[in-house]
């Protein structure tokens, strides 16, 4: 084990707008500075890569000062929103484009799968394309010849293998292409979203194969995906990119939950200030967490979730008051309401725990609205979205479906076979 790949201060600058008339002028300026031995004047300008704001500079930094190391045999997940710089980083890693500054050093040969079926020629047969595609990806003809039968078998296209690829359905083309890619044997494999293709059966096969590659064969993999379940199942470590910077690097769980929260710190405990000091009660804090974990760890879907409410009651007539929560999903759709019907409040400090059973909530972001109800019919305090928390996917067994199940809750009902 050791460092197999090391990225040092990688930055990539892009020019915004239309490349054309203006670029000649900038090129000449750049060239003039260079022959004088000065630094490129345009490297100083350039805004942070934020898609949503209008830029005031013609240049933008798609990546800025990215440094990281990858250990041999590690599977590093790279996650981030659209436009965070993931693809740019992959392009640099796969030597499709060069970084503006910085360097990447590697001890192994990198093969990249930014797309499956690169270089497929529609007029050539499936078999001819296996060779062409394989060689483009860096294999030799002899290597492919040795694996030809396996590749054809894995693709499930044996019947059409001598038919031109233009007659294939798009699904068959993808299967054939992935089959070639699956038998690549580089030291470092760079993969971009290739799992997003094909039907469920093929996805299973593809993820299983990826698992073999990374775990079984000890290959180093850099994996970019929006599928959090896949990231959590495959990756040993993950990196979150936000606006061209590394926002987080560390455990996959923490990275996924950070990504789902949109870049904020993981801090599930929320304390309330003077505004919540009312006549009848003082709300101190709300915290959702996995029962067995601390408040600063991401909440995983496959463990019991505990909702803690810390509240002071200042009245003696505690029987008259109840706490009701409304749970709302990320689309703003109310899902259910729940209340402390079994446990009554006491005068003084109350630390109420409410438990959601294991696997009850699916991954996603949830919002809670708080109601303090008097005499079970009218609310003396209402605050919508007072608290929010994120539930992240649990790692799944390989070979199982990696997509999201429908709905938001995942109750585990009792089943029995009466026969």
């Amino acid at each position: 084990m050791g460092v197999i790949l090391k990225a040092e201060h990688i930055s990539k600058q892009y020019r915004l707008g239309v490349i054309g008339t203006g670029s000649l002028k900038d090129d000449l300026t750049r060239w003039w500075y260079r022959i004088q031995g000065k630094e490129d004047p345009f490297l100083k300008v350039g805004a942070v890569n934020d898609r949503s704001t209008q830029a005031d500079s013609d240049y933008v930094w798609a990546l800025q000062d990215i440094s990281f190391e990858v250990q041999q045999g590690e599977v590093l997940g790279i996650i981030g929103k659209n436009g965070a710089g993931k693809s740019t980083l992959l392009k640099i890693l796969s030597r499709v484009t060069a970084p503006t500054t910085g360097s990447i050093k590697t001890k192994g040969r990198i093969a990249s799968l930014l797309e499956v079926g690169t270089g497929f020629h529609p007029e050539l047969t499936g078999r001819e394309n296996i060779y062409l595609n394989g060689v483009i990806l860096g294999m030799t003809k002899a290597e492919i010849a040795g694996k030809e039968a396996e590749i054809i078998d894995f693709s499930g296209c044996a019947r059409y293998i001598d038919t031109p690829v233009k007659r294939y359905s798009s699904g068959m083309r993808v299967r054939l292409a992935f089959a070639v890619a699956a038998f690549l044997e580089p030291d470092i494999l760079v993969i971009d979203e290739v799992l997003a293709v094909g039907d469920a059966e093929f996805q299973k096969k593809a993820i299983g194969k990826m698992q073999d590659i990374s775990k079984g064969e000890g290959r180093t993999v850099l994996f970019v995906s929006h599928n959090m379940a896949a990231v959590k199942s495959l990756c040993t470590r993950a990196m979150v990119l936000v606006n061209g910077h590394i926002a987080f690097e560390g455990s996959t769980d923490a990275a996924v939950s950070l990504y789902l929260k949109g870049g904020a710190e993981i801090f599930n405990n929320k304390t309330f200030g003077a505004d919540y000091d009312q006549d009848i009660f003082t709300l101190q804090s709300i915290c959702a967490k996995n029962k067995v974990k601390s408040a600063n760890e991401p909440i995983v879907e496959d463990a019991e979730i505990e909702l803690l409410t810390d509240i002071l009651i200042k009245t003696e007539e505690t029987e008259r008051y109840h706490i009701t929560y409304h749970l709302v999903n990320e689309l703003g759709v109310p899902m259910f309401s729940f209340s402390n019907t079994d446990v009554s409040l006491r005068t003084g400090r109350n630390l109420l725990s409410c438990y959601f059973p294991n696997g009850f909530l699916q991954s996603g972001q949830y919002f809670l609205s708080l109601y303090i109800v008097e005499d079970r019919h009218h609310a003396i305090f209402i605050e919508k979205d007072i608290y929010s928390f994120v539930v992240v996917d649990a790692p799944r067994r390989l070979g199982v479906y990696m997509g999201r199940e429908p709905g938001y809750i995942k109750p585990q009902f009792t089943w029995e076979n009466r026969e």
């Binding site: 084990m1 460092v3 490349i19 060069a98 590697t106 001890k107 020629h121 030799t140 003809k141």
Partner: protein, 287 residues
């Protein structure tokens, strides 16, 4: 894997690169790709056409026929004792090889943008494959030339091969490299400035007229001495003149001219490699 030593890195990806940085070992490692690209180009061009590879022959034949009618029958250009059709066919076949190499190579980055943006391999493989697949095409065209040669010979035309023919392959390689070098220079510039593409189509046509394709070099010197320099500075003119000398024993074989061509070719090829090398790193951002 030794963790502490930094000099065990296999390679480094960075923006800095030496001016001359040709990794021949890597090129050699990708030789299978070169072979498969050539195969793809040759096999797929005329798929689903009725005449298939015959199209390789039809084009030069009809061009030679047209030239013969216009330049020799109408405009009365003298080709000496050599039948004008054979004279033109030789010139056109050779010229076409250069033209195809130049045009296809200069389009390298644009036409391969799809592949280049997704996967790395030595980019030089693409233009090289073009030069080689055109060489095969040229070989087929040479066969038809030989066919007509034999026909005219049996008809008693005054054509004869001569001993310099052994240098014919050298001549062809020289021409392929010239097309490659020039194409690489243009391909690198065309990624940013598309105007060059239009300029090229037009330029190639003009270049043909100054390359002694449809007239002997001597004729130009005799009829238009003031403009003969246009042809004499054109390295392609010497190649075509020499090719005709080798194949048909007509015209002159200027050793100085060939040496001049070789020097120009090597210089352009060198510039082409440097520029191409520089462009391949980041052309994908501008193409």
């Amino acid at each position: 894997m030794n963790r502490s030593s930094d000099d065990t890195w296999l390679y480094t990806i960075s923006s800095k690169r030496k001016l001359i940085d040709f990794n021949f070992r890597e090129l050699w490692r990708y030789r299978d790709l070169l072979f498969l690209f050539v195969k793809r180009d040759v096999v797929t061009v005329y798929k689903q056409t009725i005449l298939g590879p015959l199209w390789y022959l039809i084009q030069p034949l009809f061009t030679a026929l047209t030239f013969t009618l216009i330049f020799n029958k109408v405009a009365n250009i003298e080709t000496g004792t050599v039948p004008p059709f054979l004279f033109n066919l030789a010139g056109i076949s050779v010229w076409n090889y250069f033209k195809n190499c130049l045009q296809a190579t200069s389009d390298t980055f644009r036409s391969n943008a799809g592949i280049f943006s997704k996967v790395y391999f030595p980019r030089l493989i693409s233009p090289l494959s073009v030069v080689i697949s055109n060489l095969i095409k040229f070989g087929i065209q040479l066969l038809i030339f030989i066919g007509f040669y034999v026909y005219y010979y049996t008809q008693g035309a005054a054509v004869s091969l001569n001993s310099t023919l052994v240098f014919f392959p050298v001549l062809i390689i020289l021409m392929g490299l010239l097309g490659l070098g020039l194409g690489m220079v243009i391909s690198s510039m065309v990624t940013k400035y598309r105007d060059l593409k239009y300029l090229l189509n037009f330029g190639v046509q003009l270049l043909m007229y100054t390359s002694a394709v449809m007239y002997p070099l001597a004729l130009m010197r005799e009829k238009l001495p003031r403009f003969a320099w246009l042809v004499e500075y054109n390295p392609m003119a010497y190649v075509i003149e020499a090719a005709r000398y080798m194949l048909l024993s007509t015209g002159t074989l200027s050793v100085n001219g060939i040496v001049y061509t070789a020097i120009v070719t090597m210089s352009i090829l060198f510039i082409g490699l440097v520029v191409f090398n520089k462009t391949e790193k980041s052309f994908i951002d501008t193409v």
